[in-house]
Symmetry: C2
């Protein structure tokens, strides 16, 4: 079994990675962490390093528990949804885990376009967790 | 642990119920099946009976495996999203399972309003499976 998770260093991204790690442990699944980014400036480089550090910490913990982890750092200019769906298709994944923002009390009733696209086009089930 | 699943007798509803049953078995969770309906006419009564028969078959199978199943038949005029979210809050659920329609090749990039509402307002993680 393979679980694919999209990670960015935000509250939602962390919630998704933590839940995906938990599911991978519980299901004895392989975990593929997809870290998509589009920009290439200096500010981005800091964010990319932060993301890599966080992913590495989770990966080290999982490896210690005998869970196989693969990290894919993608910056090819795709939308995150495209990267996640492609990774899920390629690895014949059983599950994609994504993080969603919590809606504020006055928040609009609209899901982000990336989340909608993943939910509609994923080749497998999608687990959506709140940040 | 408690898993809440929304069921209607459609391809998506069946996919959601089957996956929720599988998750309940794997996680040794209690399963709460919420069967929302709004209409009260004769056509509806047939549909309601069909739904009850299908739910009962799944419930019997799960009970045989030692999984506790509770079926809630709701027809109070709420949107299905409201019933599901209320059931999840009341049972302190860990997971809601919903079924999504597959998008056709020319299908619009819009999730149904019930699905969006559940994803945004659920008090727990949501697992979305394709019909």
């Amino acid at each position: 079994m393979t679980i694919v998770v999209g990670f960015v260093p935000t509250k939602e991204g962390r919630a998704a990675l933590a839940r995906a790690a938990e599911e991978a442990r519980g299901r004895h699944s392989r975990l593929v962490v997809v870290n998509s980014h589009r920009s290439t400036g200096d500010a981005h480089d800091d964010s990319a390093r932060e993301a890599e550090t966080e992913i590495q910490q989770v990966a080290d913990g999982l490896s210690g528990d005998g869970v196989e982890v693969e990290v894919r750092r993608l910056g090819r200019g795709n939308e995150p949804a495209e990267d996640l769906i492609a990774a899920a298709a390629e690895t014949d994944a059983d599950l994609i885990v994504i993080g969603l923002r919590r809606r504020t009390p006055v928040g609009k009733l609209i899901l982000g376009s990336n989340a909608q696209r993943i939910l509609l086009d994923a080749p497998c089930a999608v687990l959506a967790v709140k940040g």
